[in-house]
């Protein structure tokens, strides 16, 4: 009985919207740059996804904490400063503990700042809602983003290197599709992924 009622709670709906019906990449087509650029290997995708999830959660909760003090005119710059503070933290964390991943991601870690998902969640949700919901909403959006990144990177890594998480899964005679590591592979895989998900949730643009 309790599980049925769970479906109608605000918590459940925020989570469901973030991951499926309002997935930032599939439905809103936001945050594409980093999604395409770092999804050529599963480890990069997971690092980037978790980094973005952390930044969205942290910045959303800070924005919603001070939402009554931010003057509307300078709110964009305020978000920027808050977001870039957390991004610097992520960058230094990666540089200290995962130097190899930090090198593979390169400038794209810094570009989390301009990831529209972070800014979009701050502007669309966090300024109007209390801290606990903003935190959850940030988590849901971040997870929706990570989910897409991991699925896309699975396809790309298998086809490009024949490996998953650097473990050989295809026979070594399999010809590597070099194009999958490069930009065109990313565009095609994400395009087809969006197509499949949109058919599944029946979301059509006219």
């Amino acid at each position: 009985m309790k599980w049925i009622r769970l479906k109608y709670t605000k918590w459940y709906n925020i989570l469901k919207n973030g991951i499926a019906h309002n997935n930032p990449i599939v439905v809103a087509v936001l945050g594409i740059c980093s999604a395409l650029a770092v999804s050529n290997k599963v480890e990069n995708a997971i690092a980037m996804g978790l980094g973005v999830t952390f930044v969205v959660m942290a910045s959303s909760s800070v924005v919603s904490l001070i939402r009554n003090f931010i003057p509307p005119k300078v709110r964009m710059v305020t978000y920027m400063v808050i977001i870039s503070t957390f991004v610097i933290a992520v960058q230094m964390f990666l540089a200290a503990y995962f130097p190899a991943i930090n090198k593979a991601l390169g400038a794209y870690v810094g570009l989390i700042i301009t990831n529209c998902i972070v800014m979009g969640r701050a502007e669309a949700f966090a300024v109007k809602n209390p801290v606990r919901y903003s935190l959850l909403d940030g988590f849901a959006s971040g997870m929706g983003y990570t989910f897409v990144l991991v699925v896309v990177s699975l396809v790309r890594e298998v086809l490009a290197f024949g490996t998953i998480w650097n473990i050989q899964v295809l026979p070594t005679t399999f010809p590597n599709w070099v194009v999958m590591t490069l930009a065109p592979g990313g565009f095609f895989v994400v395009g087809i992924f969006i197509w499949i998900i949109r058919e599944w949730i029946h979301y059509y643009e006219v």
């Binding site: 400038a107 301009t114 529209c116 395009g191």
Partner: protein, 191 residues
């Protein structure tokens, strides 16, 4: 590095939109017709060139005081301030240009091309002249990409029958994929 070489390679074989996949959000959102694409492209060229030139001395200052860690924070503030300043300056002295840019100018703050150009010159240790050339050429390359996509989309809206799940933004990815495949043909081009 030869400046002319850098200029051509930033536009063609290292196109910032089609090779480094940057600035996708505005590229997908605003490429529905060529006129808007041109407006957005020009505004980006304008802002990227100026912020590249402004950020270079600021980064040297940070380097001199050993605070490179703050580069991200400082760059994003410089960019926001430059965009705001340009908006006010154009509004006051060149209202015609201001009206032509319209809504595109404020949108640029969140365009990752602007920040990426500043981060790239740091990563690649460019000199001042190289930074200026690189900023101008990459933004020109971005403008070319958005105008090309807009041209394809304009034609596509009239004559092609796109599957309903891909309609709208989905098909843009396929278009971009084919375009970037075409741009791979420039790989290795140098003078």
């Amino acid at each position: 590095m030869n400046l002319f070489d850098l200029f051509i390679s930033s536009i063609l074989n290292n196109n910032i939109a089609l090779t480094f996949i940057l600035g996708m959000c505005p590229l997908i959102a605003i490429s529905t017709n060529v006129k808007n694409a041109k407006g957005m492209g020009l505004a980006v060229v304008f802002v990227v060139t100026i912020t590249g030139i402004v950020n270079y001395p600021i980064y040297q200052l940070l380097k001199a005081t050993n605070t490179e860690n703050l580069a991200l924070l400082v760059f994003i503030i410089t960019i926001a301030a430059t965009v705001q300043f340009l908006e006010m300056f154009l509004d006051k002295y060149f209202p015609k240009i201001y009206n032509a840019f319209g809504i595109f100018l404020p949108l640029i703050t969140v365009n990752c091309v602007v920040l990426a150009v500043s981060l790239f010159f740091v990563n690649r240790n460019y000199t001042f002249l190289e930074t200026a050339t690189f900023s101008f050429a990459s933004s020109l390359g971005w403008m070319m990409a958005i105008v090309l996509v807009a041209g394809v989309r304009e034609k596509m809206a009239v004559i092609s029958d796109v599957p309903r799940g891909l309609a709208g933004k989905g098909i843009v990815f396929i278009v971009l994929g084919i375009l970037s495949l075409a741009f791979m043909g420039f790989t290795g081009l140098s003078f």
